[in-house]
């Protein structure tokens, strides 16, 4: 045994495998290292600092919105809801809010429909170039909004169909499709294939399986997709600005152009309203995601 290893295993003559495995060399366990306390403190501090960076500007904005004067001022000199009143009575702002809601709702439904069809087809059927189709669907996520916007403008101009609210719905519907696509694809991947096979075994044709089993099981993801696309459309400025061609004004566009001519607290009031709406939708999405069928 000239070349025996550094740790010769105990062996019995004649029969190594039956008994020899009893006692091996006891390996030293590496003692588990604890995170030193300074890093923990650093993480904690970072958390609070980041939170402050998010919350403080919002707080300032809310404070500014109740300032009674004609220009945004911090800290506010007094308390007044006059800018909220202006916001909700001015036809200009109301028009913007209405446009924003119509575009957000329409494009959310469109984006989720595109995503649902694409996700279902790619997940359930062996499609040629399926992976490329998925990447195509995800592309708006990686392209700069300006380029997407210019592309849409050029396209709608070419087909002689510009300056209409439908354009904005279509543009946002395509632009925001990646998010519902991600959500629905991940939802589908969690649906146990045996559930669909089981339905088929019980006599359901593929279309019936989709309607009675697959869709009900991913409806939470579909709803989350709609909400997500809705929020993104509501908040989107660049594509909206380019595609609208000065004829359709949405809330972000109105806020932006108002800032150019004035410094009125009504902008802050609009922003606060905006944040409150967003917050409500996020809360709703959170609630729906947890218990859509219980």
């Amino acid at each position: 045994m000239a070349n025996a290893g550094p740790r010769p295993a105990p062996s019995r003559p004649g029969n190594g495998e039956d008994m020899g495995a009893g006692i091996g060399p006891v390996l030293e366990r590496p003692s588990r290292r604890r995170w030193p306390d300074p890093s923990l403190a650093l993480v904690g501090t970072t958390f609070w600092v980041v939170l402050a960076f998010i919350v403080v500007p919002l707080g300032v904005l809310a404070a500014v919105s109740v300032h009674p004067g004609r220009f945004m001022t911090f800290p506010p000199q007094g308390f007044s809801l006059r800018w909220y009143q202006t916001l909700l009575t001015s036809s200009q702002w109301l028009e913007a809010i209405r446009n924003s809601l119509v575009v957000a709702l329409g494009s959310a439904v469109l984006a989720t429909s595109i995503a649902l069809v694409l996700a279902l087809v790619l997940d359930r059927y062996p499609v040629r170039f399926g992976e490329y189709m998925r990447r195509l669907g995800m592309m708006p996520l990686f392209l700069p909004p300006v380029i997407m916007g210019v592309a849409f403008v050029a396209f709608f101009y070419e087909i002689g169909f510009s300056g209409r609210i439908e354009n904005l719905i279509i543009a946002h519907g395509i632009f925001n499709a990646p998010f519902p696509l991600l959500l629905i694809s991940s939802g589908l991947s969690k649906v146990n294939r045996e559930l669909e096979e089981s339905a088929m075994n019980l006599g359901a044709r593929p279309a019936t399986v989709l309607r009675t089993v697959t869709l009900p099981l991913i409806r939470a993801d579909v709803f989350a997709g709609v909400l997500f696309a809705f929020l993104l459309s509501l908040n989107e400025y660049i594509v909206a600005f380019l595609v609208s061609g000065f004829t359709v004004v949405t809330l972000p566009i109105e806020i932006f152009s108002s800032l150019r001519y004035s410094f009125s607290p009504v902008i802050a009031a609009a922003s606060v309203l905006f944040i409150a709406g967003t917050g409500f939708l996020v809360w709703l999405a959170d609630r729906l995601a947890g218990g859509l069928w219980d």
């Binding site: 096979e197 088929m200 019980l202």
Partner: protein, 386 residues
């Protein structure tokens, strides 16, 4: 209720893995047949081809004599219980059982009557409006049975349905499944890797390995007359002695083991009957041929041996081939396994032999480290091809 035939069925998956390789099998009307084998042996793929979820590359699948090879699963009239059970989580227990009936266009009242009847049959009356996640593992199992059988399918298919249950509930449900199957009288194909489960449930067992069927037979035939060494080792415990044939007289064969002990064994009815290619005909067993002798632990007889005898030739043992000399062993370990006492023994060459005895059957004076001789009745030992 009908018969199932697989005719020369082959299935290769992308990547070249041959999951099922020329399997022919008939499941008789009303029979409970188990496909038994280790994972990757092709048993689940075979079942999925009967259900219609996999298309064979070659061969035909017949249900009730009708060729269904190209018929989609939703037109096949099989009732399947999946490994994950696959109960619809967004439906109540009742809706789960109703699903298949509705798909078949049964009227609402009739469907509900039938579904409640099925739930009563599996002792789940009163649970109609629960959701699957509100049930215990065993209850979910029974819902899956009820759902599959509610549509009155002609074939009942089960894919390792007990895998996720603990031992006690598993035992109860096995009994329940068998009772249910016999009451409904339905042709059943059951897939499992658990040989105990296969033994206790089946009318017949098909032991599979590497996409082929090694042997088909009743549990008793499989156990007592394994066709191959694989079957002998997979179904129940066994002791295997490799050696060469010394002499043969009819079914009785004398074999010299690799350690030089001579043992006698018999050719079983199963030898050579396997469908597998490596089970050659029994007629080929002749002196000089390499064979393996299989002896079940309960056939191992243990007798005390004089420890002072000289090492090479212990008392009563004739290594030169005198016949019923037996094999000298030392007792290494004694285990109490419920109603059995299990002896772990070692031959001089280091081979382990396991013998089991009913508790209280007889008292053996040998303790750990004691010397003994192993003998067995040739009628209870089988000669197999290696």
């Amino acid at each position: 209720m009908s018969q199932v035939d697989l005719v020369e069925v082959t299935k290769t998956f992308p990547g070249g893995v041959k999951a099922v390789d020329g399997v022919s099998l008939t499941v008789r009307q009303g029979e409970f047949l188990t496909l038994l084998g280790p994972s990757g042996c092709g048993k689940t793929t075979s079942l999925r081809m009967i259900a219609g979820f996999e298309q064979p590359d070659a061969g035909r699948v017949l249900i009730g004599g009708r060729d269904v090879t190209r018929v989609p699963p939703y037109e096949r009239d099989t009732g399947m219980v999946f490994q994950s059970l696959a109960l619809f989580p967004h439906m109540s227990v009742l809706d789960n059982v109703l699903y298949g009936l509705r798909m078949r266009g049964v009227s609402r009242t009739e469907a509900e009557r039938r579904a409640r009847e099925m739930l009563a049959l599996v002792q789940l009356s009163g649970y109609e409006h629960r959701r699957p996640h509100q049930l215990s593992g065993g209850q979910r199992q029974r819902v899956a049975f009820a759902r599959a059988l509610a549509v009155n399918p002609s074939i009942f298919l089960l894919d390792e349905p007990f895998a996720a249950l603990d031992a006690k509930i598993r035992d109860e449900l096995q009994v329940e499944l068998r009772r249910l199957q016999q009451r409904v009288g339905i042709t059943t194909v059951f897939v499992t890797h658990n040989q105990r489960e296969a033994m206790t449930l089946s009318d017949r067992i098909a032991v599979m390995r590497d996409g082929r069927i090694e042997q088909i037979g009743s549990p008793q035939e499989i156990y007592e007359d394994p066709a191959t060494v694989f079957v002998a080792g997979f179904v129940g415990m066994t002791n295997l002695f490799r050696g060469h044939v010394v002499e043969r007289a009819g079914r009785r064969v004398r074999v010299k083991t690799e350690e030089g002990f001579v043992v006698e064994a018999e050719l079983g009815a199963g030898t050579g009957n396997g469908a597998s290619k490596d089970s050659a005909a029994a007629g080929d067993v002749a002196p000089g041929k390499p064979v393996t002798v299989s002896v079940r632990p309960e056939s191992v007889r243990l007798e005390p041996r004089d420890q002072d005898a000289r090492g090479g030739s212990p008392a009563g043992v004739d290594p030169s081939g005198g016949g019923q000399g037996g094999i000298p062993v030392t007792v290494d370990l004694i285990r109490f396994v419920g109603e059995l006492i299990e002896y772990h023994l070692y031959t001089p060459g280091g081979q382990e032999i396991i013998g089991t005895y009913q508790r209280g059957q007889r008292t053996l004076s040998m303790g750990q480290g004691g010397a003994a001789i192993v003998r067995f009745d040739p009628k209870e030992a089988r000669v197999l091809w290696r």
